[in-house]
């Protein structure tokens, strides 16, 4: 780098209006780019963190999710008695037979009903989910019509306070607690007693059986055993994989949409940078001639203009990222297509996204500045000095 960086930077500063418009365009593109990646990241993080690596979810073969699944009582008790299930301090097996159904509850913001997951839980359900903590009130007494609700539900739906009553299935359900499940999908669930819920909804079958592995490395063995048992038409998945699979369609949709959008948008921003850089070259022809006469090589000129354009991209990238980082304050709730139920997740800014955004903005700058920089470096000295 022979021509000082300050030359490139000060030239950007000299053309403040043009520079800020160009940077503004790039910042918007990077904002959209980062926002979509953050959304996909947030969704995936939420669903992946929902699972634990040593937990196994058993559902009916091909059911895809707990909502579609059904496991009858006989099958459920076969699973319950499998060897390899962890035993807790009280000497009890870490296994829960659960039922998952959807109910429609009115949202606070729109008063429109939205689907919510109700999970009928067993004695061990809470212990199986390390991420779930009761933040207010208490757990329901087993065999009662008491329920606890997730933090996101409390925030987004009507009647979300301890002591209030939800009515569904021709029964009143008293909210006795609110649980905090962090960034996981459980925050968007309502939990009640499995057997009472089955009675209420006249269900004969559980939806899933969840258990903790005594030894996580034995997963394949147990999976093999469950899936080859002719009495069971069930499949076992690690809880982490189960939730990752659920987020796949949505995350893929977001990624495809986001990437194709940003590619198209970035064309606009690259054109903006190109216009700016061509004008920068045109305005400084005599300067370029002088620098060449002083003994600077073509590649020095090329580098100086490319640097200028890279700076444009970089500043645009950082500006876009700063605005995108404020998105972390927002929570998005939308229907998860895999379960047809509401799921709340937030924008998540990971280091990877930061790098990708900055790299992306540099590429935009480089693409926009390359042709003008080449034109600058190719000028004939004598003609350039005459300002042609």
């Amino acid at each position: 780098m022979k021509i000082p960086l300050s030359y490139s930077l000060r030239n950007l500063w000299t053309r403040r209006l043009t520079t800020s418009l160009t940077i503004g365009g790039m910042a918007l593109v990077v904002f959209v780019f980062a926002a979509v990646l953050m959304l996909a990241e947030g969704l995936q993080k939420t669903l992946v963190e929902t699972g634990s690596d040593d937990n196994v979810v058993v559902i009916r073969k091909s059911a895809g999710s707990e909502v579609q699944s059904g496991i009858d009582r006989v099958q459920a008790s076969i699973i319950e008695t499998q060897p390899g299930i962890a035993i807790d301090a009280d000497g009890k097996r870490m296994v829960a037979k659960e039922i998952v159904v959807l109910i429609a509850l009115p949202k606070k913001s729109t008063n429109k009903p939205s689907n919510v997951v109700i999970r009928g839980i067993g004695e061990k359900s809470l212990d199986l989910r390390r991420q779930v903590k009761i933040s207010e009130g208490r757990m329901p007494v087993s065999g009662s019509t008491e329920i606890v609700i997730g933090k996101s539900i409390a925030k987004r739906f009507k009647s979300g306070k301890v002591g209030e009553v939800l009515r569904f299935g021709m029964r009143d359900w008293r909210i006795v607690g609110i649980f905090d499940a962090g960034n996981t999908g459980f925050s968007s669930e309502v939990w009640g007693d499995a057997d009472i819920l089955m009675q209420t909804f006249r269900r004969q079958a559980y939806s899933s059986v969840i258990f903790r592995l005594q030894n996580p490395s034995e997963f394949e063995v147990i999976k093999q055993k469950i899936e080859s048992d002719p009495r069971l038409t069930l499949e076992a998945r690690k809880e982490t994989k189960y939730y990752r699979d659920q987020s796949e369609m949505m995350a893929k949709f977001l990624r495809i949409l986001g990437i194709s959008l940003t590619i198209i948008f970035s064309l606009g921003a690259i054109i903006g940078a190109m216009i700016t850089m061509y004008a920068a070259v045109a305005n400084r022809i005599a300067e370029i001639g002088t620098l060449r006469a002083l003994g600077f090589q073509r590649r020095n000129i090329l580098a100086a203009f490319v640097m200028e354009s890279l700076f444009l991209g970089l500043i645009g990238g950082f500006t876009g990222l700063i605005f995108a980082s404020f998105l972390q304050l927002y929570t998005i709730s939308t229907m998860n297509w895999a379960t047809f139920s509401e799921l709340a997740f937030s924008f998540e800014l990971s280091p990877d996204i930061i790098w990708e955004s900055i790299l992306f903005s540099l590429i935009m700058g480089l693409t926009g500045g390359m042709l003008p920089a080449i034109r600058a470096s190719r000028m004939n000295i004598v003609e350039a000095l005459r300002g042609e």
């Binding site: 022979k2 000082p4 300050s6 001639g289 006469a293 003994g295 000095l385």
Partner: protein
């Protein structure tokens, strides 16, 4: 003519421009010797080829045929990037419109050619301060060109031209954009460079007053070099 004293030796130099299918001869078989420490003015009407001759000596344009030796180096055979390196250490430029970089301060403008040398930052600072002192602008080194008068800008440009201690200085209408007093100053400064620092200056000019300052005057007309004007200027 003692060739050991010659800093520039030009032999049978020809150059023509192509405008579409038209070929316009500019320099026609020119030979010229310039001695070390000489202050030479090139005069001639517009289009006579004087700027082209200057550009060729300075190594920013290519001749069609002939040879140019500067300090015994045949510059017509140098490649483009060799030529650039050669210019950086052997030629100083002074332009009619100063051609300072507007976003850089006077100091940084003068420092610019030194960035191509291997000098340390401290050495560069010393050289720049010295050059600015020669042109008597030490108090303005942090000003940008826009904050300086025309005469001051031209003095910065001269400092930039001498900071690498080149053997020859080429000046194209150095007083063309200046009022009479400033022009006087600049010409005195250039004379001082020749007399005190033993620089060789080749100056293209229209201005008879500027030419008078020079030690020799050569006249170019229709591509041919003469010792006196063919027509009244």
């Amino acid at each position: 003519m003692n060739s050991e004293n010659n800093i520039v030796e030009i032999r049978n130099l020809s150059k023509s421009y192509h405008r579409g299918s038209l070929i316009l001869p500019v320099l026609n078989n020119i030979s010229l010797d310039i001695k070390e420490g000489e202050f030479l003015a090139l005069m001639g009407p517009s289009g006579s080829g004087k700027t082209t001759l200057l550009n060729l000596i300075a190594g920013i344009d290519k001749a069609d045929s002939g040879s140019i030796k500067v300090k015994s180096v045949e510059i017509t055979t140098l490649s483009e990037s060799e030529l650039a390196e050669w210019r950086a250490s052997n030629v100083g430029f002074i332009f009619q419109f100063y051609n300072l970089i507007p976003v850089l301060t006077a100091f940084e403008n003068v420092e610019l050619p030194l960035l191509l040398s291997k000098l340390s930052k401290k050495e560069r600072r010393e050289h720049v301060e010295m050059a600015l002192k020669v042109v008597n602008l030490s108090d303005r080194m942090d000003h940008r060109p826009g904050q300086l008068s025309g005469g001051q800008q031209q003095r910065v440009a001269i400092a930039r031209a001498i900071v690498t201690d080149p053997a020859i200085l080429v000046a194209d209408e150095p007083t063309g954009d200046l009022d009479r007093t400033s022009a006087e100053d600049i010409l005195n400064l250039m004379e001082q460079l020749v007399v005190e620092l033993n620089k060789t200056i080749i100056m293209v000019t229209h201005d008879p007053r500027a030419a008078k300052k020079a030690h020799h005057i050569k006249f170019l007309d229709k591509g041919i070099l003469n010792a006196r004007p063919q027509i009244d200027l």
